[in-house]
């Protein structure tokens, strides 16, 4: 055994003498073949490594053994993972102000929501919620839509008696106000729940349809902006500060607003592609929420907005700042 250890010890001493590249762990709990990995994260990582002039190595862990959606935030804080992708919702109690972007009927696309949120971060409105980490990108998944197995929902009246799976308190409250009965279940249980009739439908963005094969068990789809889930790419503060300057600059150059836009745009495209593919399957019915009906829904959902404002420190100010950003973006749109 000593013969095996010895060379490694000797080589280690040699290695410390020379310059050696820092290896960082990047972890994402998403499925290995998720398009976000190949289309956003991998080019992004390659770019950073290339610009770091040999000072940086990044090892990727997908569907990560290093952590799951529930513990990724802690894993980064504790230095188990250096850089990670995570969704905000499971980090209960931490990003209450950032949550403004998840409210229903506030955003039209993932891109505008992502940029608006990043602007709030940059302008110091929600910045302090990220004090413990080094934030690299902040983005929204597209708005959740309604996907039903054997009954369509077009108006408020259609919600009566519909058992619909929701993913968090905000979605549950939203659904209850619209008149449905929320059922709680993890994302991996949706397929079975729908196929066995435990619930009649689910609230989930289009980006969640393909990974869980939900097009096999749903037929009626309604595009309604029922709120988004927020995600981020972030880094352990110490890991960042311990890097050589070249490496730090390489990361900073490729992150922030540019990564945010990339992620927002990608999740819109991803959703559109999945919607398009589903549309081509026979028997699938995809509809848009009727504008008049939308006004009714918005009125019904006012209590969700009110209670968010009441329960969030500085809630009113943050909501109006977010709406301003969105208006700004829409007015500058070509």
């Amino acid at each position: 055994m000593i013969k095996q250890i010895l060379p490694s010890v000797v080589l280690w001493f040699l290695a410390v003498g020379g310059v050696c590249a820092e290896t960082l762990n990047f972890a994402s709990p998403g499925a290995p073949r998720a398009s976000m990995h190949s289309q956003v994260f991998e080019p992004w990582i390659d770019q950073i490594v290339a610009e770091s002039e040999g000072t940086l190595n990044i090892r990727t862990f997908y569907a990560s053994p290093l952590g799951n959606y529930n513990n990724m935030y802690d894993r980064v804080l504790d230095g188990v993972v250096d850089i990670a992708f995570a969704t905000m919702a499971p980090i209960g109690g931490m990003f209450v102000q950032t949550d403004v972007a998840s409210l229903p009927f506030e955003t039209r696309s993932a891109l505008e929501g992502s940029i608006a949120l990043w602007n709030l971060y940059e302008k110091g409105v929600i910045t302090h919620e990220f004090d413990d980490i080094k934030l690299l990108g902040l983005f929204l998944f597209p708005n959740s839509a309604l996907h039903m197995s054997d009954r369509s929902i077009r108006s408020l009246e259609d919600f009566r008696g519909a058992k619909i799976r929701t993913a968090g308190k905000l979605q549950s409250d939203t659904l209850a106000l619209l008149g449905g009965s929320p059922v709680t279940a993890g994302a991996s249980e949706i397929y079975q729940g729908l196929s066995r009739g435990v619930f009649d439908g689910t609230i989930i963005p289009w980006t969640g349809i393909a990974p869980f094969k939900l097009e096999e068990v749903t037929q009626y789809h309604l595009n309604a902006p029922l709120g988004s889930s927020i995600a981020m790419v972030f880094m352990n503060k110490d890991s960042f500060e311990d890097l050589p300057t070249v490496a730090q600059q390489a990361i900073e150059r490729n992150s922030g607003r540019s990564l945010t836009e990339r992620l927002g745009r990608h999740s819109d495209q991803d959703a559109a592609a999945i919607e398009q593919r589903t549309r081509q399957i026979e028997g699938q019915i995809i509809e848009e929420l009727d504008p008049e009906e939308a006004t009714r829904w918005r009125t019904e959902l006012q209590p969700v907005i009110d209670s968010w404002v009441a329960n969030t420190p500085n809630g009113a100010r943050i909501l109006s700042a977010f709406r301003e950003e969105i208006q700004q973006l829409r007015s500058t749109e070509p």
Partner: protein, 639 residues
Amino acid sequence: MTDLIDQLNIRAARITRKIASLGVLLMLAIVLLTAADVLLRWLASASVPGVNEIIQLCMAVAITATFPAGVTSRANLTIDILQRKVTEKFHKNCSAFGSLCLLLLFGFLAVRVGVHAQHLSERNAISLFLEIPQAPFIFTVAALLSITTLAQFVVFLQDMKNALANYRELSDKGLILVAVFSLLAAAVLVSILGYMTEYFVPTALDYAGIWVGILFILLWIMALGFVPIAAATGLTGLLGTAVFLGNGPALSVLGSEAAEYLGNVQLAVLPLFLMMGGFAAQAGLASDIYKLAHTLFAKFRGGLAMATIGGCAGFGALTGSSIATAATIGQVALPEMRQRGYSAGLAAGCVAAGGTLGQLVPPSTAIILYAILTEQSIGQLFIAAIIPALLAIIAYMVTIRTVVGFAPDSAPSNNEKTSLKEVLQAAKGALGVLVLFGLVIGGLYGGIFTATESAAVGAGGAFVFALLRGKLKGDAFWEVMAKTTAMTAMIFLLIIGAVNFSFFVAISGLPELVTGFVQNLDVAPLLIIALFLVIYILLGSVMDPFPILIITVPIVAPVIADMGYSLIWWGIIMVCVVETGMITPPFGINVFVLKNIAGGDVPMHTVFKGVLPFVLADLIKLALLVLFPALVLWLPSTM
């Protein structure tokens, strides 16, 4: 004064039992809450919102509450294949060392789960739906782990006393001094190790292969040296993670993984199914089902042996343990068969083989463990096991016919006739078992229950049966609970060790290495599967199913998945193959259990000879399952 340690032991046993009772009552409360949720959903199509979150947080506390009693009753899994090869003195020394390792693990766990709770409290972590603060629950878990550490210290004292008795007479006070001193020495050693690992972190990845080799050797030395599996895997995992990621992250992983798996909703089914098995045995359901099987098969030659297989299958449906099945049915069936002139070999062989049905017929603890290690659905795996289990039952019955055919003197020829009336009467007596099984598996298959709910309904149902039959009078209730808590503590400790070990395996890059190696081999996937199976049968003949699963699944499962095979299918194959190991010479555990029941007049080699035809049947069944995966995968696909 000389009895200080004995007194400590008695006191520790008394206190820890009280704590475990509280934990068990909490579990019963969870059973009732879950049952209420199921009922409400059924009657009013509404559900208690966020009931998962309550289960999660309370279960973590309830399960940890069984730990102190678990360690005082020494509910540990240890690989003891070398026990008869070493001197008693050496074995005692090793036991003391193993105790020390476990003490270290508990110490680390208590502190790190505490730190984890502190983190949760600092960021006001709340649950998603009910917004319950999480920190108080995890702090309670940390406190219970501290109590467990103290209890383990008492166990350690006892083991030291046993070990040192070989050398010199020491007063108990002196012993405690020695124990504290060795604890300090261990602490110093751990600090030095921790200091060293920090040096290796930057280059560990470049020498991943060497490190994995070293740590695996360390694991095997500890495991074969009678260190409890939980401590061997947990400490190796901790050290390995420290080498690759650094001490801080490694310790943080230990704490947060422990907290997470203790509160894992999927895992909550384990203690509940254990409880169901305990109550079912207490209610006498085992002999009910044996009687029914007896009336059904009495007219065949070797009918009693077939009835034993049927009884094992039926009881296996109520418990998830093959040893429990072999022992419970063995106590009823073995004397009966011997009395009626069955040969010792056939009688013992069919009970030992039938025992393996305990693990194959759902619910099964090995399947639950596999599901956790590979993140597969427990419900689907249970349903997938049904056809293979039926196949095993048929194969065993055919085996009995064949054995009786070739060796007519192994079973009496006087066949009994049973009337339809007798069958119906026996069926009526076994109605309890049938209802319970129908509820648990039917509800799971039909989508009425989740795995957790079916376990809760099963445990609740078995409890009611035992209660109505008046079998829970006096201390009986607490005896069932004590057995449940001991098993719960043992399995969850194993799981905590296992998840830390597999974390290390995952970050070491070993699975990728093995997968790459297998890909480069360029041989037919079926050949690789066959190779794995041979290795597993060899491993199974010397080791328990649980450690085999824990050590190999993190490495092998990625290879299987990479070759394009279903992990549900592989799970069933794994359980079959390690269960075959349970009855394969030289160290099949079921065989030892049987030997104990059979007593002195049946020599070991007779039992093994009797079990051999059943091993053959197992191999044929295995070949069928490998060649026709649809046998496993079809039923879950219809769910």
